[in-house]
């Protein structure tokens, strides 16, 4: 059972260099451009990282990019691998991985709903959790939840009597 580094070396041999950052003995992160992302994921799946446990996104608004994380897991040795790639904020399109992992369909639907990243090839990019949501995707940093909450859900106005008596009459 070759360790994770040997696998990564084999992958680099096939698809070229990419930077590797080791977090713990059994977990590391690799940074990949979106153009090579699909090929590398496919190779990693063949090499043993058979389980896709999560797809999630991070909004790097200062660099103007969205980072998309693919968390892979290897059952034989219990190693986890985070494949990170970034997509520009104004045209966030990335190819789907449904052909590798069918379960990716709902992860991609979730990321699409909360970040607006389009996974082309995924037929089912409907809203998953929010109902009747008209605003921009809420997990983006340029969306202000406080403002939305104040507009849509009026607050309780605490008049003077509440503060002074400390809620005496509720006994």
């Amino acid at each position: 059972m070759n360790s994770m580094n040997e696998i990564l070396k084999e992958v680099m041999a096939i698809s070229g260099e990419f930077s590797v950052k080791e977090v713990t003995a059994r977990e590391s992160i690799i940074f990949v451009e979106t153009s090579r992302l699909n090929a590398i994921l496919e190779i990693l799946k063949r090499k043993g990282f058979s389980h896709l446990s999560l797809i999630t996104g991070v909004d790097r608004i200062e660099d103007g990019v969205f980072e998309v994380f693919y968390t892979l897991f290897r059952w034989e040795t219990g190693e986890a691998l985070l494949v990170k790639s970034s997509v520009s904020r104004d045209a966030p399109v990335i190819t789907t991985v449904m052909h590798l992992w069918p379960t990716a369909r709902f992860y991609e639907r979730d990321v699409h709903e909360f970040f607006g990243i389009v996974f082309d090839g995924n037929p089912d990019l409907k809203p998953l959790i929010l109902e009747n949501w008209k605003e921009i995707p809420p997990m983006r940093k340029d969306f202000d939840p406080q403002k939305y909450s104040n507009e849509h859900f009026p607050d309780r106005h605490y008049g003077s009597e509440f503060l002074v008596e400390g809620g005496g009459e509720n006994e």
Partner: protein, 179 residues
């Protein structure tokens, strides 16, 4: 009201206060406080309060914690299925003023804008002792005939409906799972 009707109403209130049936609908994190309240340590049944499976049979609807817009739609639908006289008890600070989720895009901040609340229990989340003392307070309120949230909902119905539409857009939604 004729005094015969008033006397009958007083007897009815006495009956209603001693036999309250609670709906099995745990909307938030406070619901985990209910099992200890029902079982042998605090024994809610000795106050005449017991869980019921359907809104048709229930008298109290417990809003136990933060209330997201999706759950609020189901709460309104269940509340309207319950039969009056019916009461709502709000648990914790999330129903009072939004609690720690005051700035969230998904949860409401003031419960009694949308449904009439008869009793608030402070605490995040109120422990079983607080729940039991809250219920005894509700029972005395019903006994005195002051717990008229359900009458309010009937009289000021359009005010409630307007608030609901403002916050939720529409109450009866079509989602993919029910076509």
């Amino acid at each position: 009201m004729s005094n015969e009707h008033k006397a009958w109403e007083r007897v009815a209130n006495m009956l209603r206060s001693r036999s309250l049936w609670m709906l099995y609908y745990c909307t938030g994190c406070g619901a985990i406080e209910l099992p200890p309240t029902m079982t042998s340590r605090f024994d809610m049944e000795r106050l005449g309060i017991g869980p019921m499976a359907t809104p048709r049979q229930a008298d109290i609807l417990l809003i136990t914690g933060y209330l997201s817009t999706k759950t609020l739609r189901r709460v309104i639908y269940s509340y309207e299925q319950m039969q009056s006289p019916k009461y709502i008890v709000g648990f914790g600070s999330c129903t009072l003023n939004g609690g720690i989720y005051y700035d969230s895009y998904a949860t409401i901040n003031k419960l009694d804008l949308y449904v009439p609340v008869d009793l608030y229990l402070a605490g995040c989340m109120p422990r079983p002792e607080a729940i039991v003392s809250g219920f005894t307070a509700l029972m005395s309120k019903i006994d005195k005939g002051e717990a008229n949230g359900w009458k309010e909902y009937q009289e000021k119905n359009d005010w409630f409906k307007r608030n609901q539409i403002e916050a939720l857009g529409e109450v009866y939604v079509h989602d993919e799972f029910h076509e």
